[in-house]
Amino acid sequence: MISPHSWRRALRRVNIAGLLTIIVCLGLWELAIRAGILRYQYLPAPSAIAAGAEELAARGELSAAVLHTLEAVLLGWTIATTLGVSFGLVLGSSQLARRYSLSTIEVLRPMPAIAFIPVALLLFGFSTATELTVIVLPALWPVLVGTMQSVMNIHPRLRDVARTFRLRRVPTMIKILLPAAAPGIMVGARISLTLALVLAVLAEMVGNPEGLGYGVVSEQQALRPDLMFAYVVVIGFLGIALNALLVGALTGLSPATAAALEGRSS
């Protein structure tokens, strides 16, 4: 049951001015096309894009594409985050591990994601495995480096505390290092998620013929700009939704951490 009070509160959170700007821009775009000021053969008006999206949804192609891309993004991101946090914890807490692997990481990290696509294609063909390879490898670094650096920055006193209470290595990681490094890990995980969506779409455009990225390319080749733009818009919304979901999940998952972060920053 939604009370009028909470409705009003929800309304107050909406950025009316910002929303208005978007609406005005869309209106101008629509007007410019209808009045014939903008004359590109393949630039549809917003109303045509909306109709296109409706058409795609009715055919069931849109939800299938969204599901595929979403699955690839979430799977790839989960793998990247798990690997990144694990390696980051080890690298952050062991100087020996850093000495052996930091140069390898510095070589691999700046490699452009797109360079992996032909390699992955040769290895795995036009498949989801290719897509996941392209997502995981670059999305790994923000989490790994973020975790490593936050673990290295943990105040040495916390390790003393773990030792004086006789905590073993693994409990120390779980109870001290992981929560103390949580803010840095979250930053890395957010960057990684944004990156994962970009990479998924990219991989679908050139590697794995499925999902939203493939939708954009195939409609472009079919000379249906309205449908192509509809896919682009959906990709945009997916990005916004994923980010909002992650931020919401992180605050919901651990209100204590959120409170602690707020308390520290104030």
């Binding site: 006193r157 505390v161 004086t164 006789r166 929560p179 204590a256 409170a259 308390g263 520290r264």
Partner: protein, 247 residues
């Protein structure tokens, strides 16, 4: 026992010729000016730093890692507390997974009662004052029911009033739990007021040359005890031992 630490290519002697015993249930304060290795001494006693020659023994066994039953209370409570945990969960830190849920609850609440911190169970450390945070850290140490409490200038960062009330809390805790306490401080009056015995650490490298048996009566009182002739006599003696440096 002595200790050398690596320093600019070579080693530097931090502590030398330190030898003393702490008996069960005794309150020993170690007082000395800064730079004499007081904090290092606590770390060696607590098994965080190994000594380079000699040995530290606890119940006859050599200390090479933090032994069970010996807990350190650090000076910088803000860094020593887990900022993402509530008061209750901070206090539970040392015993969780080692005792039953029921005993955990009992121990945590009795530790909090011992330090006079009730009704803040679900607060986070950063929501509490400095004195209260230090109480949380002491409660966390008490929850493991330690045989020895090693305290590294625990009240040095607190204001005079908070300091006085925490000193009395600590004496009461000591009386009720009967654990041994080794208490490091640079405050001569605090050392005399709290200790059954005061050891003076001095010099660089630091060494203990003199100890005093403090025969003041108990319970001690912030006003009455501090103005007795005996207290002043001990204060003077410790002062002289340190080398007449103003406290």
């Amino acid at each position: 026992m002595s200790l050398d630490l690596p320093h600019q290519g070579g080693t530097r002697k931090i502590l030398t010729d330190i030898s003393f015993e702490v008996h069960r249930g005794e309150f020993v304060t170690i007082v000395g000016p800064s730079g004499t290795g007081k904090t290092t001494l606590v770390r060696v006693l607590g098994g965080l730093t190994p000594c380079t020659s000699g040995s530290v023994r606890f119940n006859g066994r050599e200390v090479d890692a933090p032994p069970e039953g010996v807990v350190i209370v650090f000076q910088d409570y803000a860094h020593a507390l887990l900022q993402w945990r509530t008061v209750v969960r901070n206090v539970a830190f040392g015993i969780e997974g080692r005792v039953t849920a029921c005993e955990l609850r009992d121990r945590v609440s009795s530790a909090l009662r011992l330090v006079g911190l009730e009704g803040y169970d679900d607060d986070f450390p950063w929501q509490l004052s400095g004195g209260m945070q230090q109480r949380v850290q002491i409660a966390r140490a008490l929850a493991v029911r330690p045989a020895v409490l090693l305290m590294d200038e625990p009240f040095a960062a607190l204001d005079a009033m908070t300091k006085a009330s925490l000193q009395d809390e600590l004496l009461r805790v000591k009386h009720e739990t009967d654990c041994s306490i080794v208490f490091i401080t640079h405050d001569i009056e605090e050392a005399v007021y709290l200790g059954d015995r005061v050891a003076v650490i001095n010099g660089s490298p630091g060494t203990i040359r003199q100890t005093f048996d403090i025969t003041l009566g108990k319970p001690r009182d912030q006003i009455m005890t501090r103005q007795t002739a005996e207290f002043l006599k001990f204060r003077y003696a410790v002062h002289q031992a340190i080398g007449g440096v103003a406290s």
